[in-house]
Amino acid sequence: MITQYSNSHIPGERPPLMQRIVITGIGVTAPNGNDLQAYRASLLDGRSGVAPYEIRYFGKTLAGVCDFDARKYQSRKDIRRGTRAGSVGVYAASEAVADSGLVWEKINPARVGIYVGVTEHGNVETENEIYEIKRYNYDTAFWSHHHNPRTVANNPAGEIALNMGIIGPHYTIGAACAAGNAGLIQGAQMLMLGECDVALAGGVSESIHTFGIFASFKSQGALAEHDEPARASRPFDLQRNGIVVAEGGGIFVLERYEDAAARGAKIYGEIVGYAMNTDATDFVLPNPDRQAQCVQLALRHARLNPEDIDIVSTHATGTTTGDAQECQALRQIFGNSAKTYFNNTKSFIGHSMGAAGALELAGNLPAFTDGVCHATINVDELDPDCALPGLVTNQPRELGDVRYILNNSFGMLGINSVVIIKKTSGQV
């Protein structure tokens, strides 16, 4: 029986984008690169960013650790006062603006918006304070007055605003591990609505600094272990055994196409479609049907067919169930597309949580110019359940002309997001 809904919009029948939104600047810090060129080189050269790591209470583990120079854009005092997520955000946003060629002094700061995706925020700072007051027999008189400004949910976006003097809207988008895409989508929407003229959008993660995230994944049986750190993050491999937690940030400068073209900006790509939907089936387990629907929604939004997509940047995190389910979803959509290739960036850097969607997209965008699909590394024995025909394993693959990239990003509580980027004229 087909339910007749009173709100009669049929999924996929959304109107096309009202305006053309383009990416004109990229700032990243990833565990294997602190700018797009270095990051891309690592992805093409098979260089992992996963390293041995130790954190209080939990002990020795593995993580994707960033080594960007926070002092490049922040004073020592601001670093001390703020959060790691704030520093990641300030670094990535500042790099993105520098990359964009915008003459910052000429930009009206009231017309800049900041939209930063986060998986979580405040765990690191709360754990730190509890650890600190433990030394004082849990006397809350020793609890820092910095706790609230550090843990308000808008903190990472607010630190960017403070640092860069931006007085337009700023906030974070809490969207679990779909947050990087969600930040990008929010930025695009705000440009379309005319709420800003420049959007700094993407996602950040400071998650490796909270022991809780490691302990929770461990308790869930979903934390990766391997004797060789660089081989621990292995989506689609039969021996995969969980997630490598990573920190990082990816911030894009977004502008309306007309504005970017008028100033002769280099254009990394155009956001031609996106979608977000919800499983509503489980706290943790994904739902491949809903994921497939989300991909389909994004394709229809972009008025594209599956075979138009050259590269799918998969979300797979290295868990037994999740990877196979995403492949199940992708088969539903791309089963008949011989020209679509799939890769996975987490195999290099681990799961950078709120930054994942943004970083994984950023790592793929240079394919528009170099024509190469970077690989999924650490696939020694491909899981038959993950054997997508176009899966690029272990070595990058020359594709030639890459015109469309589709970026998957999914998260707990059944949040799904997909973004599609098109190569444009004026491409860098």
Binding site: R76, K77, R81, Y136, F142
Partner: protein, 88 residues
């Protein structure tokens, strides 16, 4: 602790909370705010660090006493003279 010891304690705290500042030229009789970039959260840091390091409790109504190095050390002297300096 002597007055000089207390001054050193406050200098140590300032070095932590204002790490970008050059404290070598600090003038004791001039307000901190007139020579350093300190805001109200920084003054709360001074209060918190004295509490953590020496268990000195400074009531809010006495915060104005922390305006300069001279006023701070003279305010802290009766509270800290019987304490041993902790090496930071």
């Amino acid at each position: 602790m002597t007055n000089d010891d207390i001054r050193e304690v406050v200098l140590d705290i300032l070095a932590d909370i204002a790490p970008d500042e050059d404290l070598s030229q600090l003038q004791d009789d001039v307000a901190f705010r007139d020579q350093l970039e300190l805001d109200s959260m920084d003054f709360l840091d001074i209060v918190m660090e004295l509490r953590k390091r020496y268990r000195v409790q400074i009531p809010e109504e006495d915060y104005p006493q922390l305006a300069s190095m001279a006023s701070t050390t003279s305010y802290l002297e009766p509270l800290m003279r019987d304490l041993e300096k902790v090496e930071s």
